[in-house]
């Protein structure tokens, strides 16, 4: 009999499995369920993009590409980032095409963190930063952002979290799950804290295109920040391409060179068919982004309006496709609220606690769903609130 407990990696065993697994099990058995749980676009990838992928298969382009990604793909990424966000990256030395934004985050953390290094992670946020830091034998330092600050990271909070061991600051804005954005002036305030330190920034900008009423600014746009910032982005959210696993990372060439090595040993290259589709998206997909953003914006207003009307206070999320209403007034914990809402009314939303401390008292509602479904979900939510 193998004693797996003593055989398996301690740092892996220390990772907590996702707490929402049980929700999916319940959800799978419900016939009439409305899931506002999964954070992905409900759109299908635009046809011209799918077609480009299909065409590449017809032509038999099924081999590996260069490790860093096809030259054409890197060029399109470079052009796109300049066109949309005024970011300048050399396609040959500063762009790496990855298997989704997730791989890019993994590479960025592994390429920068030595054992014992601290990584500052604002929470609530996407779930992967902490575990990846742990796997790199770094130390995650979680900083709770506050509803009264519209879930932005403040310079005071950042300053308080910095120690001599701080290596990296993760900046996940626009934010999953809160929908918070950091505008230029807010980033400037953080930059003031970072200037004169050796701290690097991992700016996860996967939701950059989904900013409403504000234009996204990257940390790398700011003076003295370009040289310390690693920009992670991808095609999943803005082009509705989650299943293609297309991400990329841009940074000073010295950092990319190190990330390139990890990528080359672990992944070889991002999927070839996806790169062909991605080239088409980056080249001819600006209008698709616009169309989807407009649609999300309508749903956003609709949902936030509805939640506030039901007495679930919700600050105006200006990015991503999530609303993060407070459910504290119900007297239930986030987890109880979500479990009962799912059991009793077949509506799935995610407890704020799934995204780290500071999420208690909130739930994440994804509005990448038709207005019809959102409308039905709000109706059921209303009935639920009356019943508790």
């Amino acid at each position: 009999m193998m004693d797996y407990d003593s055989l398996l990696s301690g740092s892996v065993k220390s990772l907590k499995p996702s707490g929402i697994r049980k929700f999916f099990d319940i959800l799978a058995e419900k016939q009439d369920a409305i899931s506002l749980g999964v954070g992905e676009p409900d759109f299908v990838t635009p046809w011209h993009v799918r077609d480009a992928g299909i065409y590449s298969l017809e032509k038999g382009f099924t081999k590996y590409t260069s490790n860093a990604g096809m030259t054409e793909m890197r060029r399109e990424v470079s052009k796109y980032l300049y066109r949309r966000f005024s970011l300048e990256y050399d396609p040959m030395k500063q762009v790496l095409v990855t298997v989704g934004g997730s791989e890019a985050i993994d590479l960025a953390i592994r390429a920068t963190v030595d054992p014992g290094d601290e990584v500052i992670i604002p929470v609530p946020s996407f779930v992967c930063y902490g575990p990846i830091t742990t796997l790199a034998h770094g130390v995650p330092v979680f900083v709770e952002t506050k509803a009264e600050n519209e879930f932005r990271l403040t310079p005071e909070e950042l300053k308080a979290a910095i120690t001599p061991k701080t290596k990296l600051l993760v900046l996940p804005f626009p934010n999953n799950p809160t929908g918070a954005v950091m505008e230029r002036k807010h980033l400037e305030a953080l930059a003031d804290v970072l200037r004169g330190t050796d701290i690097l920034v991992l700016s996860d900008e996967i939701y950059a295109e989904l900013s409403y009423g504000v234009h996204h600014t990257s940390m790398a746009n700011l003076p003295d920040m370009y040289e310390r910032t690693i920009v992670v982005n991808g095609l999943s959210k803005c082009y509705a391409m989650t299943g293609w696993r297309m991400g990329y990372v841009c940074a000073p060439k010295e950092i990319i060179a190190q990330m390139h090595k990890i990528h080359q040993y672990c992944l070889m290259c991002a999927p070839t068919v996806s790169q062909y589709a991605a080239i088409e998206a980056l080249r001819n997909g600006d209008r698709d982004i616009e169309m989807m953003r407009e649609e999300y914006d309508r749903r956003r207003r609709y949902l936030v309006d509805g939640l506030n009307e039901l007495g679930l206070p919700c600050f105006e999320p200006k990015g991503a496709f999530y609303a993060f209403p407070s459910i504290a007034g119900t007297g239930l914990t986030s987890e109880d609220f979500c479990e009962r809402l799912l059991m009793e009314k077949s509506v799935a939303v995610i407890p704020g606690t799934a995204f780290g401390d500071g999420g208690e008292g909130f739930v994440r509602v994804c509005y990448a769903s038709s207005v019809e479904r959102l409308s039905e979900a709000l109706l059921r939510l209303k009935q639920f609130l009356l019943s508790i």
Binding site: R21, A28, V38, R298, V371
Partner: protein
């Protein structure tokens, strides 16, 4: 306010309250705008898209596209003849076309015989109509952005993003 028309074109069942929330306009303004658009004919009407193949019935209907060639009349151009055609209740849509023919008539009848009868008894004899060609629609794939056959859904996934 064009936004409201676009949204209604997508789904005419959006209520003024929903439209107000989605566009960020006050509900009263939305209601006024719709009322004005209905009054001046900008909003011509509302209708449902039905997949009749899903409806059990003995008397299936047939839809046809009839190409019509006409010789334009002095003074009135094509309009006078078009008017004579669209007055028929059977005619669903009528468009003036560029290209090989002049008018495209869409009509639905109970049977193919109905359609044929309409063509030779009503349409062809109209003065100025010089030729017709009738095409029956065999299958509807998409209408007004709606796809008739439900696409396959991906399997349920357990994931967390």
């Amino acid at each position: 306010m064009k936004e409201i028309l676009r949204l209604l074109e997508k789904d005419a069942r959006f209520t003024p309250k929903q439209l107000a929330a989605m566009t960020g306009e006050p509900q009263r303004k939305v209601e006024e705008y719709i009322a004005a658009a209905e009054a001046d004919g900008t909003l011509l009407g509302y209708s449902a898209i039905v997949d009749w193949d899903k409806v059990e019935s003995d008397n299936d209907t047939v839809t046809a596209l009839i190409e019509v060639k006409i010789s334009p009349q002095r003074g009135d151009g094509f309009d006078r003849i078009a008017e004579r055609i669209y007055q028929y209740e059977e005619v669903e849509s009528l468009y003036l076309m560029s290209g090989a023919f002049d008018l495209a008539v869409f009509m639905t009848g109970r049977t193919m015989k109905d359609v044929s009868h309409f063509v030779f008894a009503c349409l062809a004899p109209i003065e100025g109509v010089t030729a017709t060609a009738t095409h029956f629609i065999m299958k509807k794939y998409k209408e007004k952005h709606r796809i008739f056959e439900k696409q396959e859904e991906q399997e349920d996934r357990l994931l967390f993003v």
